[in-house]
């Protein structure tokens, strides 16, 4: 059989195309298998990259921060020292939050979580205090909800959460118009990938989600894509990124009116309630803390020059972006903090109003809301003061109310009840019945008479 020249060319073209497709497909399969061998699947969740150690020297741009500053993650993916092998000998306090908990530019020995560990009495009923930090820049309450679903990784006795900043800043960035991002944030998997450094792979044939998005090739590709599009968000070791972001704000436009926050506050409240419930279900009480900031009316030009946050859209990428004035930011942050206090009041959750405890000065903040070493010290003192009464009851043996508290694994002494009230910082604003419920959140088996 003879082929005409034209049909021969078509035949060659088809076979060539099929040949290329076959080659590409084969390469993808080989690469996927290779990547899965080279980069083994994480079978566990880890908040931070285990054993990561980086030294920062950002003191030139972060006044009040001493360098060099070591950022060290333990083998379990927590910024803190290694756990004891004997779980029963340790009382674990886990701190959640965004960048203000992460404290990236401060040395490990000078961050508030480490200082809290040192300030608390070294032993509680024969158990060592361990305080871990899984704060990560940008994480908001939605991420903390996801983190709290995996509390078993850390098995904490107490959870401390410094929240509100990322929720507020994220709301400002979207400017109430970006519903697309809000849809995306509902995606549990996306939140997991944002909240954890290591997330177990899902099987390729898992009916949930698109199969190709579960491949390593897709994952690597999306990492590269994020790197290309988010270069301005990388934090370098010398703090130059801080300087660049400040310059963007200095050259930006200004607004003294923030967008409506009611819808964002309602969503924030919902997530806070979820956080309280998840911690409660796990059996570890949670202490919520309001977010301090330097924002206020009457900041000097020098103080304003330290700011970089509170912009609209991709404000660190787009020159001339709109930024909100400090007094407007203060009002917005205060609204988020008030909502947190309300949740504490409604759910009888212990709260620490840190926003009121930290003076709005460059002595305590090196930018909008990140703490200097002095700020870290003050926060650690306040947090330790709030937590200590929660722990002290363990030192008194024998004088107990009936039944163990699920969080403390130990019956609580009736005599220590007044001390426990110290953590109910809203007690003054609560009704008498609410105060009782606040106490009961710590002492579930306490009988009503005598209170």
């Amino acid at each position: 059989m003879f082929w005409s020249a034209k049909s021969m060319r078509i035949r060659q073209l088809i076979s060539g195309t099929l040949s290329i497709l076959f080659g590409v497909t084969l390469a993808m399969v080989v690469a996927e298998v290779g990547f899965r061998i080279i980069l083994p699947n994480s079978r566990v969740y880890r908040a931070l990259t285990p054993n990561l150690e980086v030294t920062f020297n950002a003191q030139a741009y972060a006044k009040g921060v001493q360098g060099p500053a070591v950022f060290k993650v333990n083998s379990m993916g927590v910024r803190g020292r290694e756990w004891s092998r004997d779980r029963a000998s340790e009382y674990r306090i886990l701190c959640l939050g965004g960048s203000t908990t992460e404290s990236l530019l401060n040395d490990q020995s000078r961050i508030w979580t480490t200082l809290v560990e040192h300030k608390l009495k070294q032993q509680i009923a024969g158990r060592d205090i361990w305080v871990g930090n899984i704060g990560k820049a940008g994480l908001a309450s939605a991420h903390h909800v996801v983190q709290l679903k995996h509390l078993d990784i850390y098995d904490p006795n107490l959870v401390v959460a410094l929240v509100g900043s990322s929720d507020f800043i994220s709301h400002l960035k979207q400017d109430s118009n970006d519903t697309h991002s809000r849809d995306a944030i509902e995606d549990e998997r996306l939140l997991e990938e944002e909240a954890f450094a290591l997330v177990p792979d899902r099987p390729l044939l898992d009916p949930l989600g698109t199969w190709y998005k579960k491949t390593r090739i897709w994952h690597l590709g999306s990492e590269l894509s994020q790197f290309v599009s988010n270069q301005s968000q990388f934090q370098d070791r010398d703090g130059l990124s801080l300087q660049r972001w400040r310059a963007m704000r200095a050259a930006g436009k200004r607004s003294s009116v923030i967008p409506p926050v009611e819808a964002a506050l309602d969503a924030y409240e919902l997530r806070l309630r979820q956080m309280v419930k998840l911690a409660d279900n796990f059996g570890a009480p949670i202490v919520l803390m309001t977010q301090p900031s330097i924002w206020r009316a009457g900041l000097s030009d020098v103080e304003k020059g330290q700011l970089w946050m509170g912009g609209v859209g991709d404000f660190r990428d787009v020159p001339g972006s709109l930024y909100y004035e400090p007094e407007a930011l203060e009002r917005g942050m205060d609204a988020f903090n008030q909502r947190l206090l309300k949740v504490c009041q409604d759910t009888h959750t212990p709260c620490l109003d840190l926003a009121k405890a930290i003076p709005k000065s460059t002595d305590y903040f090196y930018d909008d809301e990140h703490f200097t070493d002095k700020g870290q010290e003050l926060i650690a003192s306040r947090v330790a003061e709030a937590i200590q009464p929660l722990l002290e009851h363990r030192t008194i043996e024998g004088q107990v109310s009936e039944g163990p508290h699920p969080a403390f694994g130990h019956p609580l002494p009736r005599e220590r009840v007044p001390d426990l009230l110290q953590v109910c910082f809203l007690a003054e604003s609560l009704k008498p019945g609410s105060v009782l419920r606040c106490r009961r959140s710590f002492i579930p088996n306490l009988d009503t008479p005598g209170l």
């Binding site: 080659g23 940008g138 960035k173 988010n230």
Partner: protein, 88 residues
């Protein structure tokens, strides 16, 4: 039909003065080593052009090379810039 005389000639050529051949290889040194991968590539390209049947192999090699580069780049990024301040 195999031409036995050609096989014999080839055998003689390959075994003739092996020391000299080795010297020549040694003499070319680093330049040879530098060029040899490109030589291999050139020969492979010629083979592909001649047969026209190795397109799948070429495309597979290109894709694998790109993915290898991607892997290296990602590893470097994670090492150089492990901290991102994303406002989600």
């Amino acid at each position: 039909m195999i031409d036995q005389s050609q096989i014999a000639a080839a055998h003689v050529a390959s075994t003739a003065s092996p020391l000299k051949a080795a010297k020549k290889r040694k003499g070319s040194g680093w330049a040879t080593r530098l060029i040899s991968p490109f030589e291999t590539l050139r020969e492979f390209t010629q083979l592909t052009r001649r047969t026209g049947r190795s397109l799948w192999l070429v495309s597979m090699m290109i894709v694998l090379s790109l993915l290898a580069v991607l892997l290296v780049v990602i590893q470097v990024i994670e090492y150089v810039a492990p901290f991102v301040y994303t406002i989600f």
